[in-house]
Subunit: 291 residues, 2 copies
DNA sequence: ATGTCTTATGAAATAAAATTACAAAAAATT
DNA sequence: AATTTTTTGTAATTTTATTTCATAAGACAT
């Protein structure tokens, strides 16, 4: 699991991370340049080689050598790549919400936080586990979704989605109902437990019961080890800083919904011909309720 | 409303949009350059002035003039800015899901689509309307959230959030209950109607009834005019391509949830001292249900 | 410690690229 | 048709990047 994350991180690191990574393999003069760029990345788009060399207390030749060492064609190339990397990154930064932020600041910060939750989840999701989960859901005779509180809403959303493609599924947000249904599952069924903390008793208990009943169990929870991962055959992890505001679930449920979307899309794609029909049917079904 | 969108678009357009915008005010030779760049933006980071001039069938001097006309310091500057703009944009591009996409492709496409929905909504949201909505919610004696189907889930999420800060609120996903509650609202109350299409009869009817009862009405719907905007005092718009897969609501509900997050955060910030206490209380309340 | 070898570095030369100045051509105006 | 204005490209100039090469610093052996 953890590998995947690190692996993906190594496949596509930003240019600045690349510089950071080889910092200690550099010659002294090149190291000075690397450090200066890491410290003032926004400056370099305006600096000429001569200016940069001067600010680093080194020579123009060393700057060029530094660029080549890093695998760039030259200084121009480095300049362009670092600026582009920075532009991409700056689109993402969002500070914590502070009490005296104005409306625009809050719109921006909350939105970026939500975007980041989706993006991080996209990076951290284990492709193999996702494939396994989709496979299980596709084959499932019936699907149970368990979740309480904010995760209960995700469970309901999942039910709503899978119902549209004619999957026998139910979202249980009531503890007793969760347990009752879980106890009656069969090995052909799938149970999905949703809990950001991974510690919600009700959901964990229901999922354990489902596992004991022989059903395939899937969890959607935050990255790392927790009670729910112990009772899940397939583990799907989301990430989210959750630090934006002290509110139970802000970005985390958006990350969870993103996982639901992914699973739904995968299942839908694999049975496309049948499913497109179901989608049309359900669309028509609600049409008379529209102006 | 529409203004804001266009206005914001003009405040921070990408570099390529800027070129597109003045295309017709350019001299013939500069226009050739603009068109070439718009057609092959990814090339220009590798082209020298001389090469670009040749490919456009014009002169080096014209390229420089073109850069200056656009407000750049020179060709280098343009090169860096366009490359950066492109890098930001390429992070966002996500094609339609195709039936034979592999797991990784689907994870990426679905996630990017969701991120884009949040981002576009962030851009399109009218700051003044959001402020008015937050103000109304803060003052509200009680809040009703109406929504059916996928939007019903958003309504429930909203209720869950505002309950945590001790707001009297209820989410109604049952048509009859919506109407019943709406009929009994007072001018001190607020009703929030959620419908992506803006055409959902049940939700529109309930919101109309609420308005007639004297309550302040807020809608969360897709950008543009629709039945629901006619019965809403305050209009909050989300955008979402929705074209990723033929499924009622994919990204749109994430955009809607983002709006809920924004409203919640605004209300929470304005009454921070009280609210932090409520949040702690509710956190403690569910703690015994955790492992 | 001294000399030899290796590596790292910067000054200066060179090459490349961008910018500017200017004159020719094209278009517009009289 | 002549004149003015605008547009454009060529060539000169300047700026910037790259390479070369000599020297300095450090490592290692004697």
């Amino acid at each position: 699991m953890k590998n995947i994350y690190i692996k993906r991180g190594e496949i596509m690191p930003g240019d600045l991370e690349k510089i950071q990574a080889i910092l200690n393999n550099l010659k002294p003069s090149e190291k000075k340049i690397a450090q200066y760029i890491l410290k003032n990345p926004e400056e370099i788009s305006d600096l000429t080689i001569a200016e940069l060399a001067k600010r680093c207390g080194t020579s123009e030749a060393s700057v060029v050598r530094f660029c080549k060492t890093l695998g760039y064609k030259g200084y121009q190339d480095l300049k362009i790549k670092v600026s582009a990397d920075l532009a991409v990154k700056s689109k993402k930064i969002q500070g914590l919400v502070s009490v005296d932020d104005d409306v625009d600041a809050i719109i921006t910060k909350v939105s970026k936080n939500n975007m980041l939750a989706v993006e991080n989840t996209m990076d951290v999701l284990d492709r193999a586990e996702v494939a396994k989960a989709a496979q299980a859901l596709m084959k499932a005779k019936k699907i149970d979704f368990y979740g309480v509180g904010a995760s209960g809403i995700v469970a309901q959303d999942a039910m709503h989605k899978f119902m549209r493609i004619n999957k026998a599924c139910t979202a249980y947000t009531d503890t007793h109902m969760q347990l009752t249904s879980a106890a009656n599952l069969s090995p052909e069924d799938v149970a999905v437990g949703i809990s950001y903390s991974g510690q919600t008793m009700d959901t964990v208990d229901a999922l354990r019961l489902a596992k004991n009943a022989g059903a395939t169990t899937i969890c959607i929870t935050k990255f790392g080890h927790s009670p729910i991962t112990e009772v899940a055959d397939i583990k799907l992890f989301v990430t989210s800083s959750e630090a934006l505001f002290r509110s139970g679930a802000m970005a985390s449920r958006i990350a969870q919904l993103n996982v639901i979307d992914i699973l739904f899309t995968l299942v839908a794609c694999q049975k496309y011909d049948d499913i497109i029909k179901y989608l049309e049917n359900t669309s028509e079904a609600v049409a008379p309720r529209k102006y």
